[in-house]
C-alpha cells in the first residue's frame, strides 16, 4: 500500500486538514492577543501535590468576586517544580508573568493586585516570558536555570491546554504527520536515521535502525507500542510530557506506525499516572474526531488505531519483552532474545517499541526537519534530552538540555547548586539501572557514551543529586531493595543474586560488614550483570558497583570503622544533646515519639541511647540558635548521665 498519492497531488483530506490547522493557528494567535486576560495554572500531578487545585479554586473565586472576566487555563508542567504551585498571568498587551510558591491566599492576592490594581507583585514573581520587560521582574530566559535549556520537547508544556487539540494544532502540531503521509515509508525512516535520534528510554539504540528492521520484516500485522511505563523512581519526564502535551507523543506514534506499516498501536502507561491516562484518553478521542486515527488517515489509505493499556505495578514491564507479555495478558516475565521484537514481538508479530520522549522527538523531526533536531547535541548523541533534576539540589525540576552540557552546568548553573551549599558528592543517573558519578565527572559532557563509560547509563533521564548528607551505601542498598522487589523472579541470577547483594549491603549498613564483603559484592555484581536474562538484572548491580568503584572509602569506613561518614545509616549513628549548647527549652523532649529524652526547664536534656529510634526529630526541631542536638557516627559524645542544670557559662 503506497502512502504517496499516485499522481503527486495533495489529497483532499490533507487540504481539509491544513485548512483546519490554519484556523487553529489563527485562534491561537487570537488567544495570545486576546482582549481578556489569561491565567494559566499548572495543574500537573506535581502541581496538584503542591496544592495547585486549591490555588485554582481560590483564583476562580477571586475572579467572580471581583467580577473579572478572564480566561483560566489548566496547563502542564513548566519545569520549575521547586516553585510549585505556579501560575502565569497575561494581561492584554503585557508579557506573560510567572508566579510561584503560591498559596490560595497569595494567589488570589496576585490576581486582584495585578488585574485590578495593575500591580504585578514582583515579590511573588519568578519571571516574564516574551520580549517585553516588566519593572522589577527578570526575564525568565535570562535566569540561569533557563539559559542553558533548550526546551524543544517541552515547548508546549505549561503554555497550551493539553486537553485541547486545537491548541496543539495552532502551534504547528500535526504538521509532521501531514508531511509524513506525503512521504514513502523509506523516506520517513531515512529522515529519522539522518537525525541520529536514539531511543530515549535508556538503551539509546538508533530509532531509525529499529524502525528499519521492523519495516523490512514481512507480515500483514505489525504493531507499534509507546512505552509510558516510566518506572524509574525519581523520573517524571514522561509523565509531564503526557500530562502537558499528549498530542506531541501521539503524533509521533502515528508517524511511527506509518513508517513500519502498523495498523494497531498500544500505549502502555503505568497506572500510577491517572492524570496522564485521562489526558491520553481525551487526546485519542479528539484525534478520532479530526480523522487522525481510524481508517484512511488524511487520505493515506491506511488506518491506525490506538488502545491504551494501564500498567499494573511492575517495574520490569518497562522491559520490552515483559511489556509485550503484559499487553498479551500474561505475567511480565521477559523472554530470551533472539528473536528480537522488531521481527517477532507482540503475538509473534514484528513490533516496534518506542519511549514517550522518542516519539515526541519523532513528531518534532518531521515537523521541523532533521537538521533542526541534529543541530543540538554531540557527535554521537544528537538532539536534546529531558531530565528530572531532583534530590539535594536547590532548584529541582524538569529540565531539557542539549547533549553535551556538562554535569557541572546542569547541577550548578541550572540547578543552582546543592541544597544548603553542602559539599557535592554524586549524581545518580539512570535510576536503579544506573550509577553514582562522583565529582570527578562534573566536567564530563553528558551523552550516552560518556555515561556508559563511567559505569552508569543514561536511562530515562533521572538525575538525582547527592551531597555530603547522602550515604552511598544507603543509596546502593535502596536501589537494590527496589530492584529486588521488582525482579520478576525468572532467572536465578537476578532473583537470588540481588537478594544476596542486598543482604551484604544491609550487613554493611548495620555495622556487621566484613572485609571480604566488598570483593564478594563485586564478584556477584559482575556475574549478575553478565548473565541476567533481561535489562533489569543486567543493570541492577550498577548502583552498588559504581559506588564501590568511586566511593570505596565510604564502604571501608562502614566496614572497618563501623562509621557512616554521611551520618545516615541508622545503626551507625547516634543523636546526643550537646551539654554546652542545650538551653533546656524542652522542645526536643516534646517531639520525641518514644520518650527517650529526659530533662526539665533549664536542665540539660539527655537522650537515652537505648530507647532512641534514630528518627531525627529532635535534630530537626532544636531551634537553630541553640543547635544543641548533634548527629554523629563513630565516636560517642560525652554527655551527663542524667539531666543536670544548664551551664550558665561554658565549662573549662
Amino acid at each position: 500500500m503506497s502512502f504517496v498519492h499516485p499522481n503527486g497531488t495533495v489529497h483532499a483530506k490533507v487540504k481539509d486538514f491544513l485548512q483546519i490547522q490554519k484556523e487553529a493557528s489563527k485562534e491561537w494567535m487570537q488567544l495570545q492577543h486576546s482582549e481578556k486576560p489569561r491565567i494559566l495554572v499548572g495543574t500537573a500531578s506535581c502541581g496538584r501535590a503542591a496544592g495547585a487545585l486549591a490555588v485554582l479554586s481560590s483564583i476562580k473565586k477571586e475572579l467572580s468576586r471581583a467580577n473579572l472576566d478572564a480566561t483560566v487555563m489548566e496547563v502542564g508542567c513548566l519545569g520549575f517544580c521547586y516553585r510549585e504551585p505556579l501560575l502565569a498571568i497575561q494581561k492584554p498587551g503585557r508579557p506573560e508573568i510567572l508566579y510561584g510558591n503560591l498559596t490560595p491566599d497569595t494567589a488570589s492576592e496576585v490576581v486582584s493586585d495585578y488585574l485590578t490594581k495593575d500591580s504585578p507583585r514582583p515579590d511573588l514573581a519568578c519571571g516574564t516570558l516574551g520580549d517585553h520587560e516588566v519593572a522589577g521582574i527578570p526575564n525568565l530566559l535570562s535566569l540561569p536555570e533557563l539559559q542553558l535549556q533548550v526546551r524543544l520537547i517541552l515547548r508546549n508544556c505549561g503554555h497550551i491546554d493539553p486537553e485541547d487539540i486545537r491548541h496543539y494544532m495552532g502551534n504547528g502540531g500535526y504538521t509532521g504527520l501531514v508531511k509524513a503521509v506525503q512521504m514513502t515509508q523509506e523516506e520517513i525512516i531515512e529522515e529519522i536515521k539522518k537525525s541520529g535520534l536514539r531511543g530515549r528510554g535508556g538503551a539509546g539504540f538508533s530509532t531509525g535502525q529499529k524502525w528499519e528492521f521492523c519495516y523490512k520484516a514481512t507480515s500483514p500485522e505489525k504493531y507499534t507500542i509507546c512505552n509510558a511505563d516510566e518506572g524509574d523512581p525519581g523520573a517524571f519526564m514522561n509523565r509531564s510530557l503526557l500530562e502537558g502535551d499528549p498530542h506531541s507523543v501521539l503524533e509521533g506514534m502515528v508517524i511511527a506506525a506509518r513508517a513500519i506499516g502498523a495498523r494497531q498501536g498500544y500505549i502502555y502507561c503505568r497506572a500510577e499516572y491517572p492524570l496522564a491516562l485521562r489526558r491520553l484518553r481525551t487526546a485519542v478521542e479528539q484525534m478520532k474526531q479530526y480523522g487522525l486515527l481510524g481508517n484512511n488517515i488524511l487520505g493515506s489509505g491506511s488506518g491506525f488505531e490506538i488502545e491504551i493499556k494501564e500498567g499494573a505495578g511492575a517495574f520490569v514491564c518497562g522491559e520490552e519483552t515483559a511489556l509485550m507479555a503484559s499487553i498479551e495478558g500474561r505475567r511480565g516475565m521477559p523472554r530470551p532474545r533472539p528473536p528480537f521484537p522488531a521481527t517477532s514481538g507482540l503475538w509473534g508479530k514484528p513490533t516496534v517499541i518506542n519511549n514517550v520522549e522518542t516519539l515526541a522527538n519523532v513528531a518534532l523531526i518531521l515537523q521541523k526537519g532533521w537538521q533542526h533536531f541534529a543541530q543540538y547535541g554531540t557527535e554521537t548523541s544528537k538532539g536534546t534530552k529531558t531530565f528530572s533534576l531532583v534530590g539535594r539540589v536547590k532548584k529541582t525540576g524538569l529540565i531539557e538540555v542539549p547533549f553535551g552540557l556538562t554535569m557541572r552546568q546542569i547541577v550548578y548553573d541550572i540547578g543552582g547548586g546543592t541544597l544548603g551549599d553542602k559539599r557535592f558528592k554524586a549524581v545518580q543517573t539512570g535510576g536503579p539501572s544506573g550509577g553514582c558519578l562522583p565529582s570527578s565527572f562534573l566536567d564530563v559532557p553528558v551523552d550516552y557514551e560518556s555515561l556508559t563509560a563511567a559505569g552508569s547509563i543514561m536511562g530515562s533521564g533521572g538525575m538525582i543529586v547527592m551531597n555530603e548528607d547522602t550515604c552511598v551505601v544507603d543509596v546502593a542498598k535502596y536501589f537494590l531493595d527496589f530492584t529486588q522487589k521488582e525482579s520478576c523472579g525468572k532467572c536465578v541470577l537476578c532473583r537470588e543474586g540481588t537478594r544476596q547483594m542486598l543482604y551484604i549491603l544491609e550487613d554493611i549498613a548495620r555495622g556487621n560488614g566484613k572485609p571480604e564483603h566488598v570483593d564478594l559484592l563485586l564478584e556477584l555484581g559482575e556475574a549478575i550483570k553478565a548473565g541476567s536474562l533481561c535489562g533489569l538484572g543486567q543493570t541492577a548491580p550498577n548502583p552498588a558497583l559504581t559506588t564501590i568503584r568511586y566511593f570505596r572509602d565510604e564502604y571501608d569506613a562502614h566496614i572497618n570503622k563501623k562509621q557512616c561518614p554521611a551520618r545516615v545509616c541508622r545503626d551507625l549513628i547516634a543523636f546526643y544533646v550537646l551539654p554546652e549548647k542545650c538551653a533546656g527549652c524542652g522542645i526536643c523532649l516534646r517531639e520525641c515519639p518514644v520518650g527517650a529524652i529526659s530533662g526539665g526547664k533549664r536542665m540539660i536534656h539527655v537522650i537515652d541511647q537505648s530507647k532512641c529510634i534514630k528518627c531525627g526529630s529532635c535534630y530537626e526541631v532544636c531551634p537553630p540558635r541553640f543547635s544543641a542536638v548533634a548527629k554523629v557516627s563513630g565516636e560517642p559524645v560525652k554527655t551527663p548521665e542524667k539531666p543536670i542544670p544548664v551551664y550558665d557559662q561554658k565549662p573549662d
Binding site: 506535581c46 523512581p233 517524571f236 509523565r239 511480565g332 528530572s388 534530590g391 538525582i464 528518627c615
Partner: protein, 161 residues
Amino acid sequence: MTTRAIGGGDMRDQIHEILSPFKTDRSQLIPILQRVQEKLTYLPEEAISGIAKYLNLTENEVLGVASFYAQFRFTRPGDHVIKVCSGTACHVRGGESLLQALQTELKVNPGGMTEDGKFSLEQVACLGCCALSPVMVINDDPYGKVSSRKLKQILDIYRKG
C-alpha cells in the same frame, strides 16, 4: 476525598456485570482485573473464578497473572488506602522517616491494615512527583513535602470524614 466501594448485593452478579462490556480475549485480562478491583476494592476468590470462566482460562492462570502485579490485592483494604512513595527522590528527602512516622502513628506495617479497618498502608513505587518529596497519596489525593507534624493533620481529615 474518596471512600471505598461498598460490596453489596450478590457478588457473582456484580462480577458478571463488571465483565460484560469486555471482549473475551486474553489481552483483556489485566484491564478486567483492574476494573474488578476498582469496583470491589480487591479480588476475592469468586472474582478469580468468574474471570477465569469468562475468558476461558484456568483459575491458576488468572491467579498467576494477578499475583505478579503489585497493584492487585487479594484481601479487603481499609476505608482509606495510604500509599507512601518509595522513589529515590522521596528516599533521599525523608521518605523513610515518613513511612516510619505513619507506622508509629497508625500502628501498622506496610501491607497491613489498622485494627479499626480505617487505614491500610502500602509502600509503592515512584509516583512521579519527585520534586515534592516526600510524597504520599491517600485514596487519590496526593500530599507533598509531608512532615511528621503535617501528617497528623492530614490523617485527622480522613479520621473524621
